[in-house]
Subunit: 572 residues, 2 copies
Amino acid sequence: MPYRSPVADFSYVLNNVVDFEQVLQSEKFAEADGDMVSAILTEAGRLCDDVIAPLNRGGDLEGARLENGVVRTSPGYADAFSAIAEGGWVSISGDPHYGGMGLPMTVAAAVNDMMSGACIALQLNPLLTQGQIEALEHHASDELKDLYLPKLMSGEWTGTMNLTEPHAGSDVGALRSKAEPNGDGTYAVSGQKIYITWGDGDFINNVCHLVLARLPDGKPGTKGISLFMVPKYLPDDNGNPGEANSLRVVSLEHKMGIHGSPTAVMEFDGAKGWLVGEKHGGMAAMFTMMNNARLMVGVQGVGVAEAAYQKALDYAMERKQGRTPVGDGDGAIIDHADVRRMLAEMRSEVFAARAIALSCAVAIDMGNATGDKDWIARGAFLTPIAKAFGSETGMKVSEMGVQIHGGMGFIEETGAAQFSRDVRITAIYEGTNGIQSMDLVARKLMDGGDAACAILEEIERHAEAARAKQPRMAEAVWNARENLCEATEWMLNQKDLNERFAGSVPYLMAWGRVLGAHFHLKAACAEEGNGPRTKLARFYINRLLPDHASNLAYAMAGAEDVYALSAKDLSA
Amino acid sequence: MPYRSPVADFSYVLNNVVDFEQVLQSEKFAEADGDMVSAILTEAGRLCDDVIAPLNRGGDLEGARLENGVVRTSPGYADAFSAIAEGGWVSISGDPHYGGMGLPMTVAAAVNDMMSGACIALQLNPLLTQGQIEALEHHASDELKDLYLPKLMSGEWTGTMNLTEPHAGSDVGALRSKAEPNGDGTYAVSGQKIYITWGDGDFINNVCHLVLARLPDGKPGTKGISLFMVPKYLPDDNGNPGEANSLRVVSLEHKMGIHGSPTAVMEFDGAKGWLVGEKHGGMAAMFTMMNNARLMVGVQGVGVAEAAYQKALDYAMERKQGRTPVGDGDGAIIDHADVRRMLAEMRSEVFAARAIALSCAVAIDMGNATGDKDWIARGAFLTPIAKAFGSETGMKVSEMGVQIHGGMGFIEETGAAQFSRDVRITAIYEGTNGIQSMDLVARKLMDGGDAACAILEEIERHAEAARAKQPRMAEAVWNARENLCEATEWMLNQKDLNERFAGSVPYLMAWGRVLGAHFHLKAACAEEGNGPRTKLARFYINRLLPDHASNLAYAMAGAEDVYALSAKDLSA
């Protein structure tokens, strides 16, 4: 069976698990209501199922390629992108003043989830544009906004982000790209950038590059970096693409996955650019773009995991192999305990990661809607968790999907392996999951643990309330939260950040696990009787939640043992 | 830096961790001694480093392909295979009477580890032949042995195993291939087989297919299956390849990895075959071949993990990015706590999986050398653990290797992704890791837990003895063993096998973890002072060992929650 967007799942999570109603009740989103959101998700789901998903395998086989300076895109991508643009799906949460739908980020997250499950390589194109739209909304001059935002929101033009250079990856501050004032208010931008997602494409009228570069008086490090809008074609007096700018795609990378997404090496050779935001304030603007991109990368992991789950489920319900005395799968391999266990694990992981991502989106929406610093802090706290846990879930679930297919899983025609290869990048880009974890234990605990504690208290309150209906599950969640509190205390007590960093990844994974259990419990409590969501919650809380404890033991082991192993010890 | 075989690591593990001396002291292996083994490993390591490893990337880029019925192999494979054959590396543990080296399986495992790290796709060729040699040694008539074994051992001919059919994968008993007596003692074998590793290759003089098929009077299921030797070319009166047999390669699969290894769909159309072993006793013969193949697949996982670790380590010691106040890595990313943590985790996992595989090989050798049923049972018990834990380690470590490379890891030219794609198959073939786990909790506990308890007692004894030198680590291992004992009791008490199967994978993983900690502790105790092996053991026992507890909670959760989730619940 082909991919089908899990629209009903979104409705359940939005209505019963992540308190989305409050977003719709806010003044900012007064024009939206539940029925409208539901209709929008249904419509987006139809596009994903009917138009986008059928292109996924072809894009893997015939990836983007560079021919005489032109980036040829995969079969069908041009038409599908037109459909995405025409449906308004590039700018779900964009400002209506410039043509956006003005809907909550949460809705955009749900749509991105579905679209990633359908075809992550194509979905990256509107995703990058969405990030650029946000950065411009927050930081660009009115002139730039008026010129660029309508075209970006309509999908006429697309956006990229140009951070990385060969010697400046996670360490953005080491970048060498330069910007010289032209004297007319514009700048000449020069340098080489790598890993530029959708750096170009044959169906795109104009590619708008946001480029980080250093002005002549820019200090070394991140504080001397400015952000520039550098379009492929310079807009003419009517705002249409005019003269070609001095930039080009040097090459495209050969990647493990997302072959349909052209990953470019870009060369800027005195290209004309316009400053976005303050001089030397480029990192702030870039972070606006990157923060929501981080959430959306987590969402990509969830979407691919969903697709991998669906494929494995279909296979498990069709493939007959061996016999088992139990089960309702008509003798297909789903009746084998280990296969059904894997399917249950996959599904429960997808649910958990999805709920975490959507709860993060709700917090961001509430922050935007109310300006309340607690909501803003919560969104910021949940972002690295949503990114890393979502992408790890994508990798884990797609790998289990391969496993359920047995030998077929390793054969590319099956399509299971593609999910595993495609989703691998989500743990790396927009800041590796290691970087996310460092962000969590350092910057996101700089408030003394306020944001963390607020969430932990909410988990506690809900667990207390849930005792009446689901005493055993509530007790397990309550205890896990207690362990996570202690580990958070431990983190806060480490003045040497390296002590935190040596365990930051398992700490983040424990957060994902405990949050996942919390949301499963909420889903179960919202259900009548012992329904499928309650059973799934029980599976998750009984079987997967316990690993939070081993992750926390790892998290609190400190840095000494790690550095005790010298580089020489590790090389011997 | 290119791959370098970890010869010193083998020496340490063999001498200090897995009690290999007793194998050399046995009468069967009286002609071997430690110096000889050491020289052999050094020589094999040189071949792997200098001749085989340089071909690994080319085989990924230019995989095997079928051209007009001929399987064209990857660049350089023909010469490298000649070097393998000429060095005698196909038949390390083969019977000297037929030209084998007659060395312990443990030595073969170490060589296969190194050769998999160098190039798993090529190494699969001699690996399959080794399995066939063993099956023939145990089950074939003297006539077949005299004809085939010398040619297989010398590498003139190679061997394959033909089990799987489109509708008979894990459920071998469902196969449909037929064998009709020709009346002259030979049989006409017909059927289609899939996933035939190295089903053919342009540098191979003759491919010897061991084929499972059903005789006319064969019952349905596994008890009606017989095994046949079906060579590509029928040997003439002088034992040289003569007339072509009625078989052909229909196609080669497009796979996620191991592109250099031709995975064939084979068609047998009344091909002439000779019975191997008893009529209807094919499964027993095939299991001989498969059991050691299972251990060796675990070894493949370890070998690829080693190579992935080395590559990541080299990168982490060269790549400069960001700053950290500590570490001895000269400002390279190895100085970041999270990167060093990953490297330590990778290395400690490789050590654990390697020690488990080699201890399994030692048990098999001792079983062969002494005929002692306890040794035989121990080898049988450890085999599924070595296979599944070794392959999971391969996947985990190669994935961490990609992660350490950041964006570079996703770019195929780097080579890190290839390890991840190549090693993925090891969790699937020779019985998926799910099948291994079912084997562990069902067949391997049919002795009432004797084999399991013997190992657990040994762990206990060693932990007691280790208290003097390493009290904290010894206590942790002692406790973990206690938990594993309890879980084993729980498994034994489940009369309904599905109760065991619903948690068999985490149960197996916990075994791997506890055994890994035990061997780390042994390595630490054998070392003077606080050396690198002690520090690595401390890392593993502090940080990774705790997850045995969550895996055991999962293992003992039973089948009820799993089957409570109906097929419909999982599809909703």
